[in-house]
Symmetry: C2
Subunit: 279 residues, 2 copies
């Protein structure tokens, strides 16, 4: 029976730290505030926004929501972000993505102040991650995936870690974070041949493929540690990870569930980075 | 008997392209010029500088050398680079590294114009590499290592490529270039456990460890393609790669020698990027 690594324990611990930090900041007259920019009324965005506000409230971080119509121009959105950049009351800025197609995301990424860029959109912050400088802001999902391992005392030094994803929001920054922990890192993707051979030789497999229940236990060994970063809907419309959890959970050493795994930690990372932006 | 992949053939082909491009540019009144900034009189630097000038001459690129004492301040060096940034006659800028210890390299990297940054020092250009955007400037050594494979019609799609190096000048950008070619990429380093197992499972091994003759044929299989990016001196003071060439060359499928392998291509990449900066 695998050890099930739940996200909530890690998230709670991070939130405890945040609560203490926020108290200290408030004693010094600083009120950490997260500025959220949402375009349109996409139900997923609104759901995510509510969850963030609730989480912010629970740790004492204020929120300031800028809602605009999704027909907004790039120029107008730049103005809004520049206003938030200059606003001393705003500690960190989160712009909901994906942006509408007519918006020039490259412009938006560059305009957000690197010092308030808690979601790590700005190339300057991403380049720091590439260099292995982890003192700044990191993309929240890969950071959450690393945190769940470290929190559970999984040493990464010299471990063979296989990542299945090569995007800028998960796979590539995750690889850089793992290299900083001295793991040997393999990056796989849709063109990888014999994925089975690659995963079954790994100590740790971290997957963000986005195909529900894709990996059954044949892909792993008994000592495998499996971190599931995939989120998709299965054939019944139920949220599922990349791993066939029921098949794998009695076989491997450790596994994260979906939901209630890595995804439960990302918002805490976002809040932690909002507080760090304040410091 | 392995196929020996020599660098000169590739370098000559790139230089042919450059010569044609330079002729076209000159017809339009543009005279590509490489600005070199050298601090002090380190013999290696002077040797490298002479080699670059000779290569530039051979393809019709002009050079402009700025030599300063190695005691120069960061502020003064910034001024020099800013002058080169603004100088319309300078197409590309190469600042010899390593810089003296008292110079703030972070400042220098950021001050060099991304449009003239042919050695890919500026974080903006490095971040493009991280994203897989290969339209700009690339670090020359990893680019040369990829070119030698492509020139020899080695398909990288779906291949398991192992890189032994995790630096910002070789391993990390190389990994990003290989991902763009749809290879499955493993990044190894000093903390990697059982390197033998990792390399002997790979289709292609690319090493920049800097330990002379470290890898004998036990690290490979008969189908291995071995790209040696390491340069160091062996016990007799002779230039050597990471590979025990004499031991390995009759065993694997393809191998690059050191010297006369990857290193013979890097200057051509630098010149190619100088011309691209002009365009």
């Amino acid at each position: 029976m695998a050890e099930i690594l739940k996200g909530k324990v890690v998230a709670d611990k991070i939130k405890e730290e945040i609560t203490r930090d926020v108290e200290d900041l408030k004693k010094n007259g600083i009120n950490p505030t997260l500025g959220i920019v949402r375009l349109g009324k996409n139900p997923d965005d609104i759901f995510y926004e509510r969850s963030i506000i609730k989480n912010c409230n629970s740790v004492g971080i204020s929120t300031s929501i800028v809602e605009e119509d999704e027909s907004i121009t790039t120029e107008k959105l730049v103005e809004i972000i520049e206003r938030l950049n200059k606003d001393d009351f705003i500690s960190g800025i989160l712009v909901f993505r994906p942006l509408p197609k007519h918006i020039d995301e490259e412009v938006i990424r560059n305009v957000i102040s690197p010092k308030k860029d808690i979601d790590c959109m700005n190339p300057i912050n991403l380049e720091k991650i590439f260099e292995g400088d982890m003192t700044g802001f990191a993309p929240c999902t890969p950071k959450a995936a690393v945190e769940i391992l470290l929190h559970n005392n999984v040493s990464l030094e010299g471990k063979n870690v296989v990542i299945i994803n090569r995007s800028m929001v998960v796979g590539k920054p995750l690889a850089m974070m793992l290299l900083e922990e001295n793991a040997t890192v393999t990056i796989c993707h849709s063109r990888t041949k014999d994925l089975h051979k690659v995963t079954s030789n790994a100590d740790i497999v971290m997957t963000a493929l986005g195909r529900p229940k894709y990996f059954d236990k044949k892909y792993f060994k008994e000592e495998s540690i499996v971190i599931d970063i995939g989120i998709s809907e299965d054939e019944n419309g139920k949220i599922s990870g990349d791993i066939d959890f029921e098949d794998v959970k009695d076989y491997v050493k450790m596994i994260t569930p979906v939901p209630n795994g890595v995804g439960s930690i990302t918002t805490s990372i976002l809040l932690k980075q909002t507080v760090n932006a304040c410091k």
